[in-house]
Symmetry: C2
Subunit: 248 residues, 2 copies
DNA sequence: CGAGCGGTTGAACGCTTTCAATCGCGGTGG
DNA sequence: CCACCGCGATTGAAAGCGTTCAACCGCTCG
């Protein structure tokens, strides 16, 4: 997975939601940034600092971490290749959250804010696309609040796997029936506000019910609709196809 | 609380985070929309529909609701006067969430998207301010994920009251030591992913510990720092003062 | 004055956590 | 080449926090 293909994924995702001309797409694809391989447990950006770049995931999975005084961690967002995980920092350079790798291997591109600002200034449509991308992220965040707040462990887990599978499918990195989740169980637990132990038990149950087939990092979902039913998953918040825009 | 004062609150909040010229402020203050009084339990916008306006809270409190198939509700955001609770719908007119009143009396202004779009097109700085406002909302949302995911009921409740008190203080609608929470206990429970019964018990405990003094909708916080300590509250994500912008 | 709603309290239940231990695999050093 | 080591996955049992069920209180409003 190279730098250019990551930008390509990013542009493709933007275009699923926003309308961009070839020139605008080209301008985004022309972004340059330093590629970096991030080892596990290392902050990509450190909370409290000011950032002057945003991070585009090239390969692997990353996550945003919240940490409590007593050391408990809560993941608030998971990012896959093609996600500009830090895009919001363009509007809020003061970082409040740690960004770390989930997978053993993670490569990112650090895109300077200045380049993004130039882009935004030159092309209002790009600004809109970025803005919309931030809103889409917030939309997922809302779902997480519901998920963590009101679903039991089994439903919660099913919901997360549905979300991830769909996002991976949309990015063209797999299908909803077969994909990779580059995270260990205790990280998934951190994403769902659960204990690693309980995460393990829930996954065993889902496996025994033949809702998930897990082999290492590979996940298969024999009956996706059944999993979605368990999780009460409604994918509308992810789809955001452009149909609505024709109404204007 | 009149229409104009609500717009004034909105502009003041934007200016706490973004830099706007007098002309830009004036343009926002010139927004016009139909004022409406929203009775309880009525959707301001109905999920699944396309909206062509955003809602500015004039008086009372509103909230965004997620609903599960089995009827459980989870509040994902709470809005106070001066909040444009629907601003993100400018980018995503397909509504996924119900918006309802928390307080018995809620008045809002429906501002047509077209006006907002014109504004955004005419003034890039306003677009940026709106974008940043959406990001700020998402920032709060992240905190909620952490809150609901990793804090026990007591800390969770303390954290919510800290957040609300600070937001109310910032808006100039009260002080962190004395303010109004225009919501009933079962609504607060919906915001925190708890049972109304347990919400009640927790609030009793906080009252007995002299961390909260509640009389009807009036809340007093004798020792705000103590409450913040209980909730592990760190207000950085709300402050967003403009200091960082001088670095650019 | 009765009805309804919000707030309050008690007791039992149960989902999830906590504590503790084992298993399996891949990497590393002897 | 193999033993050791460490991490991730797994499992059992006990404890606990929050839910559930049920009831009652006090106030407001029709």
């Amino acid at each position: 997975m190279s730098v250019h293909s990551a930008l390509d994924l990013f542009v493709r995702k933007l275009c699923q939601r926003s309308c961009l001309t070839e020139e605008e797409k080209g301008a985004i694809l022309a972004l340059e940034g330093r590629e970096a391989e991030i080892p596990p447990h290392q902050d990509i950006v450190r909370p409290g600092e000011l950032t002057d770049f945003s991070c585009l995931v090239v390969s692997g999975m990353a996550a945003r971490f919240g940490q409590l005084p007593d050391g408990l961690r809560q993941i608030t967002a998971v990012y896959i290749p093609g996600d500009m995980c830090d895009l919001y920092s363009l509007m809020l350079p003061k970082v409040e959250w740690a960004l770390q790798a989930l997978s053993a291997r993670l490569t990112i591109i650090r895109v300077p804010h200045q380049q993004l600002k130039d882009l935004v200034q030159a092309y209002p449509a790009v600004a809109e696309a970025f803005w919309r991308d931030c809103v889409a992220d917030a939309s997922i965040l809302s779902q997480w609040v519901v998920n963590v707040g009101r679903r039991d462990a089994r439903k919660r887990t099913a919901h997360l796997f549905c979300e991830l599978s769909l996002r991976i499918e949309q990015a063209g990195l797999g299908s909803r029936h077969s994909f990779q989740v580059l995270a260990i169980q205790s990280q998934l637990a951190d994403a769902l506000g659960m204990t690693p132990v309980h995460m393990n038990r829930v996954m065993r149950a889902l496996r025994q019910d033949n809702l998930l087939i897990v082999q290492g990092r590979d996940v298969q979902v024999p009956d996706w609709d059944a999993l979605a039913a368990v999780g009460g998953f409604e994918g509308g918040y992810l789809e955001m196809n452009q149909s609505w825009r024709q109404a204007h």
